[in-house]
């Protein structure tokens, strides 16, 4: 598209910049407020202070919710990564019956509206005695995390050249050894980035938590939801700041792993891989 008129080109630049501003500016705008000494979650910034970060540590509700998020996030990540990785390994096998149906079922938790699943889980949990328990919340979060693990691990398994595994077998490795020494190390970046996605999903989950968690399992996201709804304390901005920094670190980790994987499997076209939603 080299021969476009300069007017059109200017319009494109302006439009692109405006949309970028629309996408990024709101997220950037909330960051400085975390350091505002004012009791209102608003500009202008009176003076810089770390009082709201102190508040996160000292206030029992906020401190507890951060600890809960870490407990529940870790539990959900371990659970979903283990069973999601096993399933992705199974899906890779061409002899698995009904692979398409299974794939659709495994991705469905991403699609079903959270409120609908929340209502169902609340009713079922009351019957199973899982209501207001850590285990119940961990399981509920793991259901939502599993699709991300399956997609991520399947992606990295798909990038493995089958001839590498055949070569290992022909050199005398038994199937268990091929898996442990060849397949698993090659799939590892996908497993880790799946786990990162899972943790981020659990950290951000509110709706299902509203339905299945009791006051003792109140997570950081749930606490932020309540705080925005009820008193809009600037502690929300401090929590948001921590979440943004946290997710940026996790995103950087996932990006690093993807880059490493692309370097390992050069055969895969890089551009198609860069998109999470294909």
């Amino acid at each position: 598209m080299a021969q476009r008129s300069p007017g059109l080109r200017t319009a494109q630049i302006v439009f692109g910049a405006l949309v970028m501003f629309f996408l990024i500016a709101p997220i950037v705008a909330i960051l400085p407020l975390a350091f505002n000494s004012s009791v209102f979650l608003n500009y202008p910034i009176e003076s810089f202070s770390s009082r709201w970060f102190v508040e996160l540590q000292t206030s029992e509700t906020w401190r507890r919710s951060i600890v809960n998020s870490l407990i529940i996030g870790s539990g959900a990540t371990v659970l979903s990564t283990v069973i999601g990785t096993l399933a992705a390994l199974g899906l890779r096998n061409a002899r698995l019956p009904f692979p398409d149906v299974l794939r659709v079922v495994f991705l469905l938790p991403m699609v079903v509206p959270a409120v609908v699943l929340g209502v169902g889980m609340q009713i079922l949990y009351a019957r199973l005695g899982l209501a207001s328990s850590y285990l119940g919340v961990i399981i509920a979060h793991a259901v939502l995390c599993v699709p991300f693990v399956v997609v991520s691990v399947s992606g990295s398994l798909g990038g493995i050249d089958a001839s590498v595994e055949r070569a290992a077998s022909s050199l005398g490795a038994n199937p268990a050894n091929v898996f442990r020494r060849v397949t698993l190390p090659l799939a590892m970046p996908g497993v880790v980035s799946g786990a990162v996605f899972a943790f981020a999903t659990s950290l951000d989950e509110v709706v299902i938590t509203l339905f299945v968690a009791g006051p003792n399992q109140r997570t950081l996201a749930r606490q932020m939801f309540a705080s925005i709804r009820e008193n809009v304390s600037p502690a929300v901005a401090a929590a948001a700041f921590l979440l943004i920094i946290g997710t940026l670190c996790l995103a950087a980790l996932a990006g690093l792993l993807r880059w490493r994987q692309q370097r390992l499997a050069k055969a895969v076209p890089a551009e198609a891989e860069a998109l999470p939603v294909a």
């Binding site: 692109g16 709101p26 793991a142 599993v146 551009e271």
Partner: protein, 391 residues
């Protein structure tokens, strides 16, 4: 067992844990919710003998002595206070006055010595009227379409015919649909040109444009919603900016109304529109547009007849995705919308956590679930089908 059978078995064993996990903690809850929507045990539980006896009643004359005795026997049996209260409420919603009638009857029946016959009609002449017995019979079946009908503002009258009911559910569904459609159209209007610009650019510009889409996707939804609360509030940055440059003299209401909900939801869902369009555009050969120009097409014609049709599959899947996700939105309308902007998810949450009306929550959930799954199937079909170049 041959090697192929063994390999098949090991594949199934690997998939089994996740399959079982989702069957128990994903499928079962959804099935439970649907079952709750169509079952009604409130009256049955409290009056089990009456339920059996009245099932065969023809509804013509006042029920036989056997049915009346069954009711007396049921009322004599002490039942759980809470369950009994639910049943009375349920019956009273069928025919008003049932509460006082049952209250009086229960007192009389329990005061009568055990084994003594109780004449219900003598006790209260209302037992001689058919409509109370009809209401009782109507409330007995284990399966009911009551909640599903109520979800779309319908009910059954005393004769069992479906008639209109006064309720806001249809308004809320229409509102959910309207908001989702507005958000989808806005996302398409912004996302389509943006994806085209991103696909047409190269190097760091393209990376920057893509990063701007991926960064919000990575940021917590709550953080993004909190950010919009800060920006949109009356003393917020947007109103501050508008008053400073003098476009408005007093702050305009941007939050707790439709404008705020649509702006924030468009921001949250825009990446879901841009990415599918972008990935389709990547597959379009870069020399198509120059080819069209070299054949004499003006820039507009080349765009209209070459690039735009090729973008359509991406635009379709992006729109379906945005619309589907928007339908079930809860957090953003709950925090940024006013009472008039609450979508179907809020109503479901209200029935479930506010009033513990599981039947209604289930029925509305069933409707939302069905629509979402249907859209997902269409989406799956669209994104799987081969893109027809030049069709």
């Amino acid at each position: 067992m041959g090697p192929s059978a063994r390999s098949r078995l090991s594949a199934m064993l690997l998939v089994a844990p996740l399959f079982a996990f989702l069957a128990i903690f994903f499928i079962w809850p959804l099935v439970t919710m649907m079952a709750v929507a169509v079952t009604d045990g409130t009256v049955r539980v409290v009056l089990p003998q009456t339920a059996t006896a009245i099932a065969s009643w023809d509804g013509q004359a006042v029920p036989s002595k056997a049915v009346q005795d069954a009711l007396v026997a049921d009322l004599r049996t002490p039942s759980e206070q809470l369950a009994f209260g639910d049943a009375v409420r349920r019956l009273n919603s069928e025919v008003s006055g049932f509460r006082t009638l049952l209250g009086r009857t229960v007192t009389a029946v329990r005061q009568a010595p055990a084994g003594q016959q109780v004449d219900l009609v003598a006790l209260d002449p209302r037992w001689g009227e058919n409509n109370f017995w009809l209401a009782l019979q109507r409330s007995m079946p284990r399966y009911t379409d009551r909640n599903l009908l109520a979800a779309i503002d319908l009910k059954r009258d005393t004769a069992g015919a479906v008639v209109a009911d006064v309720s806001a559910n249809r308004t809320i569904m229409l509102r959910t649909f309207t908001i989702s459609l507005m958000v989808t159209l806005l996302c398409a209007a912004i996302g389509l040109p943006y994806a085209m610009i991103a696909a047409a650019s190269t190097g760091w510009v393209r990376n920057l444009l893509l990063l701007a889409v991926l960064l919000p996707l990575w940021t917590s939804l709550l953080v993004r919603t909190a950010a919009w609360v800060i920006l949109l509030q009356n003393e917020g940055l947007i109103n501050g900016f508008l008053t400073t440059i003098g476009i408005v003299d007093k702050p305009i209401q941007l939050i707790f109304n439709r404008t705020g909900v649509v702006i924030a939801m468009t921001h949250v869902l825009l990446p879901f529109m841009v990415l599918p369009i972008y990935s389709v555009l990547l597959g379009v050969p870069r020399n198509l547009m120059p080819a069209a120009s070299s054949l004499g097409a003006t820039q507009w014609r080349a765009f209209r007849h070459v690039l735009l049709p090729l973008t359509l599959p991406g635009l379709m899947s992006g729109s379906l995705l945005v619309f589907m996700v928007a339908l079930g939105y809860y957090i953003t309308p709950a925090l940024i919308g006013g009472a008039e902007d609450q979508m179907i998810s809020s109503v479901i949450a209200f029935f479930a956590t506010g009033t513990a009306n599981w039947g209604m929550a289930g029925a509305l959930g069933l409707i939302l679930l069905t629509v979402t799954i249907a859209l997902y199937l269409v989406y799956g079909r669209l994104s799987r089908s081969p893109q027809m170049v030049g069709a």
